[in-house]
Symmetry: C2
Subunit: 354 residues, 2 copies
């Protein structure tokens, strides 16, 4: 593999000094980019795009051609693991992800098993190809949904307003949910390790729905299993540490516990005060975030002001990766993303030099 | 008005000792009760039900006939104020509330004005009637949406996943949003004061969407305007204090600031650790909450255990009103609500006696 030209992301995630604050954007390869929509149209569907390594590589690289981003993240979905378990991932037009065969009874749960990683080869091939194409320009991030977030989709069969099915199981038959989570944790760890073997240099665990849990339940049903994943991860590749980022959307109240998860960095949503978050976790982890994705619908001046506010909120010193607090909206003007990336770089460079 | 027979709610909200922990349930008059569905069918629609004082009174009283609840809350909607402003509230089947004429341009915002309270007379009549029918059995709670939550619906025209329209206004044209919020704050204060004049004994402000805001924006666009409402409220009626409850769903990180809002009590969602919440707000406010509504889908034993856990989490001493952390689900078995109310009363009575 070629030498890394820009390792600011890796350094910031390890809380090492960097000349400026690195920035990448959740869902940076996505529908707000016309070239993405064009490639997706050619692929025929989101899943065909994700499952064709050449096309997944192409859309992964697209935002890097436009913006001076400090990381690439492999184009994929958080739900590839349950799909490989045989649940049948699909996307209904205009809706979120769904499963054809959700886990609705004890028999289905008893039959659940870790997937054959060969079924996820399209992800590993996309990662290897993208690493080659990147040529060391920036690091490549691999990822998965957290065990609990996967379980939400696996039991509900799709997104949910209230997570009634998975929580009914949690409150009425917790042992069934624990069985799913146990299998998910082992599967996610194996999957992420295979991503590292294929070339991923950073790993991120998306706990999209952990924030829907009650305080105690979060610790028991979400964080405990993310911890198991992290403990089983390969943390060294190509002579460097593989930093792990844990992101629980809506988890701002639980950062102290998350900082003890073994993760190197925590994703922070926009509702959380970054200054307070930093005080609370101290020097245990780096922080990634946390601009409101909707701030990109302001004027360019407002975007610059908001970028500066987030940078100022984290304050001086190492350990900050700039990002949105959630994925970029498909309606975002690409030139506003451009303005954000430039503002983060120029203003943090000035601050670091000061 | 007849003398109050059960004032545990009023006492707990003022942090005075009570023999047991009072309990009521958000949306206790609602679709999980067959008798509610029967009355609603007769009314023809949700809005016809809410706008007919005799029927609104009837459904307000229904849950009290079944369960030993310590409060009634007037059956109404959080969006009555913008409806009276002329935005045209309606409910599409199976969807949330919507407005026929959302605020989409400067002209509509310039034309916005506080409503004639006469248009909300159906609410005041329902309150007066319900007070008479209650005969002093338990106190009656009046309520409104917060200025920011109203603005969300007024600009979006309905619910939203990302609040793109109202947040675009916030980031690109904040002065327009401030104008809406200023009018909303004055209208909500006048509306709540008229509810007290009609017989409401407790007031609750539902800030359902404040939790979607970034940390700084919450203080500026939501809390600041709820504070203005609270400062303008009539706090004395029939020789007693009118306690005010402020509830921001997803606002667990901002409790310290909310405790300085002038509210007597804060609503707490289920994601928040009640023990930590109490430590953070100290003796400034009472706390109301915070069982996960989905816990009511567990077994009766699990419901009892969870009730005990919430009671234990608040701990000994005055200032706790038991509630769910959000409205009860329409799919909840009524006998599980029964089990919850009984568990809260019996276990807190034992704890208070101990």
């Amino acid at each position: 593999m070629p030498a890394m030209q820009n390792d600011t992301l890796l350094r910031a995630l390890m809380r090492e000094p960097t000349p400026y604050t690195p920035v990448w954007i959740m869902r940076q390869a996505g529908r707000y980019l016309p070239e993405y929509n064009e490639t997706r149209r050619k692929a025929g569907s989101f899943l065909a795009l994700a499952k064709t390594p050449e096309l997944a590589c192409e859309v992964t690289l697209q935002p890097l051609r436009r913006f001076a981003l400090d990381a690439a993240i492999i184009f994929s979905d958080i739900l590839t693991v349950p799909d490989a378990m045989g649940l049948g991932l699909y996307f209904a037009e205009g809706e979120g992800p769904k499963f054809e065969r959700p886990l609705r009874d004890e028999k289905a749960i008893a039959a659940l098993a870790e997937p054959d990683l060969a079924k996820l080869r399209y992800v590993f091939d996309a990662i290897s190809l993208t690493r080659r194409e990147l040529g060391g320009r920036v690091p490549l991030i691999g990822f998965s949904g957290s065990p609990y977030t996967l379980a939400c989709y696996m039991v509900e069969g799709g997104g949910s307003d209230d997570f009634r099915l998975v929580k009914s199981m949690m409150y009425a038959r917790p042992e069934l949910l624990h069985r799913i989570l146990d299998i998910n944790a082992r599967a996610v760890a194996a999957y992420l390790n295979a991503q590292v073997a294929a070339g991923a240099q950073v790993l991120m665990i998306f706990d999209t729905w952990g924030g829907s849990l009650a305080h105690d339940a979060y610790a028991q049903f979400s964080l405990a299993y993310s911890k198991r994943v992290i403990a089983a991860l390969q943390r060294q590749t190509e002579g460097r540490r593989v930093p792990v980022i844990l992101f629980t959307k809506g988890g701002g109240m639980w950062l102290e516990a998350m900082a003890d998860s073994g993760a190197d960095a925590l994703g922070i949503d926009w509702q959380t005060d970054l200054a307070a978050a930093r005080r609370r976790v101290g020097s245990r982890v780096a922080l990634q975030g946390n601009l409101d994705p909707m701030a990109l619908f302001g004027t360019v001046e407002a975007i610059e002001r908001e970028a500066e506010r987030v940078l100022g909120s984290f304050g001086p010193g190492p350990g900050h990766v700039f990002n949105l607090g959630h994925g970029v909206s498909q309606h975002t003007p690409p030139e506003h993303v451009q303005a954000l990336v430039e503002a983060v770089h120029s203003r943090s460079l000035a601050a670091h030099a000061a």
